[in-house]
């Protein structure tokens, strides 16, 4: 099966000129087929502030009313996506920026009320068109995906970038050998939160149980790893958690079904 790297980078990286520049050169030299999924939440929050639109978050998720939907559509689909695409073109990669609406690659439905919370124009993914993505990749293009989807009824919906990355990776895993890499601010899953060199190199399902029992993995890292194992169950070969300046995963944490 064809190997494909799906890389998710958060807003913190794409919004900082120096970090973005480094990311683009590192991404460009990664061998083989690849897809980049980006966030942009901090830029959206900053733009909302400038426009006098209140940012409301519940459990780390953005409440997306009509004004906020316009902002994320502009910032994720326009500003961030096009800067990344132009930057990759400069690196000689034939990037194509996409939201879920483009080529109908990611369909979603508006999230119903959850625990009485109306998230607004937020989309939960129904379907990723892996054939359309595969055709682009096979033709030598590098998809750069913004965290926006659509409902087929004319509405753009705001969708979490980690979710997009997972869904895209799982869809591509139907007929490709997919490595899914999440870049975050630490080198990986650390044994000692204060020591960047303490990243655990490999975690499988039984190690995950043990690390939780020992209290080494806790808090926000638990759902992150649960999502990683869910992706593995859906066919992704390996999930890597690393820092954006170590895109190749070197020194990061590999999550695998079993060692």
């Amino acid at each position: 099966m064809n190997p494909i790297n799906v890389i998710k980078v958060g807003g913190g990286v794409v919004e900082d000129a120096a970090a973005l520049s480094r990311l683009l050169s590192d991404f460009a030299v990664l061998p083989g087929a690849k897809v980049l999924v980006h966030g942009g939440g901090r830029s959206a929050t900053r733009m909302a502030e400038r426009l006098g639109v209140e940012t409301r978050m519940v459990g780390g998720r953005r409440i997306t009313d009509a004004a906020m939907l316009d902002i994320v559509t502009m910032v994720y689909g326009g500003l961030v996506n096009k800067q990344v695409v132009a930057g990759l073109q400069q690196q000689g990669l034939n990037a194509v920026g996409l939201t879920g609406a483009d080529m109908n690659i990611i369909r979603s439905h508006r999230r119903p009320l959850r625990d009485g919370i109306d998230y607004g124009w937020v989309g939960d993914v129904d379907h990723v068109d892996n054939n359309a993505l595969r055709r682009l990749i096979d033709d030598g293009f590098v998809p750069v995906i913004a965290p926006l989807t659509h409902d087929g009824q004319g509405h753009i919906l705001n969708t979490n970038a980690d979710t997009i990355a997972s869904e895209v990776a799982c869809a591509l895993a139907r007929d490709c050998d997919v490595t899914l890499t999440f870049c975050f601010e630490k080198r990986g899953v650390l044994r000692d939160a204060d020591d960047e060199s303490s990243a655990i190199s490999v975690i499988d399902a039984s190690a995950f149980q043990r690390l939780q029992a020992e209290g080494i993995v806790s808090g926000g890292m638990i759902p992150k790893l649960e999502n990683a194992f869910a992706a593995l169950r859906r066919g992704v070969r390996e999930v890597v958690i690393t820092r954006a300046d170590h895109l190749d995963g070197e020194g990061g944490t590999r999550i695998v079904a079993s060692v």
Copy 2:
């Protein structure tokens, strides 16, 4: 040769919900292969106002400093483009939103000083990749192009939407039978500026001379028609000037090399 319709719609249409909705349904039922090029200047100006960024125009062209470039990248590439794409998906058209950076379809260079005027991050088109566009069209996709290009050096550049439409039409005309339609606020080239039913149905080169001599065609319509004839010389079969609510060109003005 394959017929292709290249349609340019201005900001006034894509920025008005009712006009946009009508445009999308009319565009969806146009037979055959098609490309939509959109503007968005009024939205950009409004967004600039909200952000406290001054809009400066010289001869109808926007001076694009770094702050304005971010705004047009957001508004054209994000907000307007994605709303159009999602709306066309709703109509059952498999639209894909593109700037010139995406798939490297439109390369440009930053405009040098002209008469001492620095237009800023404005791009003059060097090359349109008609093969990439053709491949998308042949695969059943409908390109929706925002008025942004790139220089291959990592910079997005602001490029006039009429120019994009002409350049795309001329590039496709290398191996397709292209009709280029400009939608504007009037039904066509009017004999009587106050009478929308007075559109001249066909204008060829000799009629254009005559109409200028008679003073029927004057002012801003002259460069518009000169651009139309330039497109014809570069292989476009027909240029149509019509109103957005008459996308099929019915009742509008057809510009042809000779009758």
